[in-house]
């Protein structure tokens, strides 16, 4: 009994701390505007209603924003994981001269705050004629995804025994073939880890999506919701929370099915 308490009591405390905002968001999403304005018991719904969800989906372009965000997140993930994989492979398996410099440079890429970088970055985007092109967010997001994913995959690939490659080379395989046919399948847990991390960060990004897109059809979930559900000093709280909950679902589903892979992938990359 004592053993169980030692697990479930702390677990419950963590659960309350981490989940409380979501429980509150859930309850808020099912209350009517009138009930929210009265500000009564936050943990009780007097009149359960789906109106916030239906209004959100019918009166705003939420479905479009959701589709946009899904497209961007998946594409940015694919691009970043691919680029990170081949870069990590080059750095750690091919050991070409200057690979240390490259890997250091990649880490240094992290230290730039998007809150200011977006101004000089904007002139670059304009010059490339990428402004208001939804797909342009894909390479832009790669700038903050590639560094961490590369580190992750470097760590992971380090631990793969060299004998595998040597055996393949004896059989006449080219380095490129080794990259795809031998190493890639083994690296899958690490790749999944990197993919999950990339997907999460892409899904949540706000500033670049706000600044570099301009048409309504190109808005992402975060940008669309804040721009259309915050009218001056009137916040449509019910719809905001409803949208936030729906918005969290894809990432939650991904994590629910893949969290074991994510952990395995990270674990593989930090093994001594």
């Amino acid at each position: 009994m004592n053993g169980k308490l030692r697990i479930y009591v702390p677990l419950a405390l963590y659960g309350i701390f981490l989940m409380l905002p979501f429980v509150w968001m859930l309850l808020t999403a099912f209350k009517s505007d009138q009930e929210l304005a009265q500000g009564l018991n936050p943990f009780w719904i007097s009149h359960f209603t789906f109106s916030q969800f239906t209004n959100l989906l019918t009166q705003t372009a939420y479905a479009q924003w959701f589709a946009n965000t899904l497209f961007i997140s998946i594409a940015a993930t694919v691009l970043s994981v691919f680029v990170s994989y081949i870069t990590a492979y080059a750095i750690i398996r091919l050991r070409f001269p200057g690979s240390e410099v490259v890997s250091t440079a990649i880490f240094l890429a992290y230290i730039v705050p998007p809150a200011i970088l977006f101004i000089p970055l904007a002139s670059v985007i304009i010059q490339l004629h990428w402004f208001d092109k939804l797909w342009a967010l894909v390479p832009i997001y790669a700038t903050f995804l590639v560094p961490f994913c590369t580190w992750l995959l470097i760590g992971f690939l380090k631990n793969i025994p060299r004998e595998l490659e040597e055996a393949a080379r004896v059989d006449g395989a080219s380095n490129l073939a080794i990259l795809w046919r031998i190493i890639f399948p083994i690296a899958v847990p690490g790749l999944i880890s990197a993919a999950i991390f990339s997907f999460t960060l892409s899904w949540n990004e706000y500033l670049y999506a706000l600044v570099f897109m301009s048409s309504s059809v190109n808005k992402t979930v975060s940008v669309g919701m804040t721009s259309e559900l915050i009218r001056g000093d009137t916040f449509q709280w019910g719809q905001l929370m409803a949208g936030a909950l729906i918005g969290v679902l894809p990432a939650v589903l991904v994590y629910f099915f893949f969290v074991e892979y994510y952990v395995a992938g990270l674990s593989g990359s930090v093994k001594e």
Partner: protein, 436 residues
């Protein structure tokens, strides 16, 4: 040629009905306008998301009428009002973006040389609609480049919002006309368990509105006409002292309030008095129709200077020089702010935006309900941020850095002595004005 305003008043009903039914010959108005859209023009407008849905609906419909009459398509991008400024700044910086931006306060003064000259449009509309309120010039005429860099649209007016029943309980059947009376009322409300609430956090709209109103009401000012710093004075001291007393009648937590907090608290009946745009009153109509008549609005009382010193958020439209269709842009703005389009716009959004053109103060909407009337006069009694210095970059930055708000918050929340708070604000302003 009949004054456009007289024409409007004499045929108000006809115009209104005709405009609503869409049978009005719009082309007739367009023909008289000196602004001819370029061939093949198309426009992109960046505006702030309308605070009330009817604003957006009518604006969009009027825009469609413009396109039908001139063949110029207009795409509108709506962003939440605080996000318009960075977007516009970006456009100015990179030289590409929307043609027209409907922005706020001193925005146009941050990059005046990137904006086209609006003098002709300003003169044309001023003549046709009874002239402009003073603040129009304060926010749109740049004194450095010496021309109109923006076209004044109007302001989201501020008034004092209060609960009639509770005010009566505190001994006031009519809202007091001066600040002393208002303080008495505030104390009475607090005593009866209905504290007041005025934002003291970094709430862009609500914190700036009441602090500037009180500051100016006592004769305090940020700068002199030559832009020397004038904040450190006995008048400011008196304003701070008043605010400190008013703070004692307030509900807890106002220093952490954002722009939506007073709306929430007022709607939930937690406070008895605050200051806001008409949206706070408008929201009650649908939220609680039974209780709605108890919510009232009053013209902000005046202080020892014995004139009104209201502070509003001013919105203006400016056109970037990189736009390929400046004439189309001007004609669009002319159309949207001209009768009958603007009449319908102002009326259907219940006067949410008080137009900068004096002519629109005669619209029947303002007197249709005594609670709407205070908003009609928001601009008449208004000063501009940076008063009494020159409007421009420095004033813009001082507003964005919450110098005045923080001075009041230092006294009320941090219990700083007024002379120390004034000195701190003075130093901040000196640095800002030196840079600009």
């Amino acid at each position: 040629m009949p004054d456009r305003r007289e024409f409007l008043i004499s045929s108000a009903a006809g115009v209104g009905a005709a405009a609503l039914s869409g049978s009005l010959p719009i082309a007739a108005f367009a023909a008289e306008s000196p602004f001819k859209p370029e061939k093949g023009a198309s426009l992109q407008l960046l505006r702030w998301t309308a605070f009330v849905k009817s604003d957006e609906t009518v604006w969009d419909e009027n825009t469609k009428k413009f396109t039908a009459a001139t063949g110029v398509p207009v795409t509108i991008q709506n962003l939440t009002w605080n996000d318009v400024t960075p977007k516009a700044a970006l456009a100015a910086q990179v030289g590409s973006g929307p043609d027209i931006v409907m922005g706020w306060n001193d925005d146009p003064f941050v990059y005046p040389d990137k904006l086209i000259d609006m003098t002709d449009l300003v003169d044309f509309m001023g003549k046709a609609h009874g002239g402009w309120y003073d603040n129009a010039r304060s926010y749109c005429y740049d004194q450095d480049v010496k021309r109109w860099v923006a076209f004044p649209v109007g302001c989201t007016g501020n008034a004092v919002n209060y609960r009639k029943g509770w005010a009566k309980e505190a001994g006031f059947s009519e809202f007091p006309k001066d600040l002393d009376g208002m303080l008495k009322l505030a104390r009475g409300l607090k005593k009866n368990g209905h504290p007041t609430g005025f934002a003291l956090g970094h709430a862009v709209g609500d914190a700036n509105s009441w602090t500037h109103w009180i500051l100016w009401g006592f004769g305090g000012k940020q700068a002199n006409p030559d832009n020397s710093i004038a904040i450190n004075s006995s008048e400011t001291n008196n304003a701070l002292d008043y605010a400190r007393q008013l703070y004692e009648t307030m509900i807890d937590g106002v220093a952490g309030w954002d722009d939506s907090s007073n709306n929430k608290a007022f709607a939930a009946g937690l406070i008895g008095m605050t200051m806001n745009g008409i949206s706070i009153w408008y929201a009650e109509k649908t939220a609680d129709p039974a209780l709605f008549p108890d919510f009232a609005n009053a013209t902000p009382p005046y202080g020892p200077v014995k004139t009104h010193t209201i502070s509003n958020n001013f919105t203006s439209a400016y056109v970037f020089k990189y736009s390929k269709y400046p004439n189309a842009a001007k004609e669009y703005l002319r159309f949207m702010l001209d009768s009958p389009q603007a009449d319908r716009w102002v009326t259907e959004m219940l006067g949410y935006v008080t137009p900068a053109l004096k002519g629109y103060s005669d619209l029947p909407i303002w007197t249709s309900n005594p609670n709407i009337t205070p908003y009609r006069d928001a601009l008449a009694g208004a000063k501009y941020d940076g008063f009494n210095g020159r409007p421009g970059k420095a004033a813009a930055q001082a507003l964005d850095e919450f110098v005045i708000v923080d001075m009041f918050a230092d006294v009320c929340v941090n219990k700083m002595a007024p002379k120390d708070a004034m000195r701190k604000a003075e130093a901040k302003l000196a640095a800002i004005y030196k840079r600009a």
